[in-house]
Symmetry: C2
Subunit: 112 residues, 2 copies
């Protein structure tokens, strides 16, 4: 049996990995980019611009909502999806911190 290893890593590490995992599928990246390209919060069936079925896309949207990268507000029978700039900013900070820690050391590394 595979043990529950979720709590074996630091919270920061777990949080970072979860953010990267959110972008670990082309559909989810495309959803974010589509939302951005519309320049406004959008409603309707996003699956029409993706090569996947509606429920599958809905599932990817749900994951993006759960991690906080997008928000969904109910507007009558429709749901309005929006990018969440705060979370996107947080993602950038996480990435930059990681990149910084990796990049700083690169110059002193002798590889080949």
């Amino acid at each position: 049996m595979v043990k529950a290893k979720s709590n074996l890593f630091s919270e920061e590490l777990t949080n970072s990995a979860a953010l990267f995992k959110a972008l670990a599928h082309p559909a989810r990246i495309q959803i974010l980019q589509y939302l951005a390209s519309q320049k406004t919060c959008i409603t309707g069936d996003i699956s029409e611009v993706l090569p996947l079925g509606r429920t599958t896309v809905n599932q990817h949207i749900k994951e993006l909502k759960e991690i906080g990268l997008i928000k969904g507000t109910i507007d009558g029978v429709k749901t309005k999806y929006c990018l969440n700039p705060c979370k996107i900013e947080e993602f950038k900070e996480v990435f930059d911190a990681l990149y910084g820690s990796l990049e700083n050391s690169c110059s002193t590394i002798s590889c080949d």
Copy 2:
């Protein structure tokens, strides 16, 4: 049967998702950070600084090697692992491009 959907997305999108997936596990992030902290290419059992078994860590290392973020060179019976600055730089470019496309639009989005 679940159809093969791998080629339904653009190559760029698939490539980006693969990079993010490489960091989608805390162990893989920690391995990269450990390599960077050593300030040199290292050899030996990295699993000693991770809460996972040796073969499991080896598998994560293999994934990082396959995506190109680290390199491994054979040195006698030992294997020397190094960060690959080129790939890390490429990762930053991919991230910055994505962030740019998302961030640009954020200012014009009205969310709440």
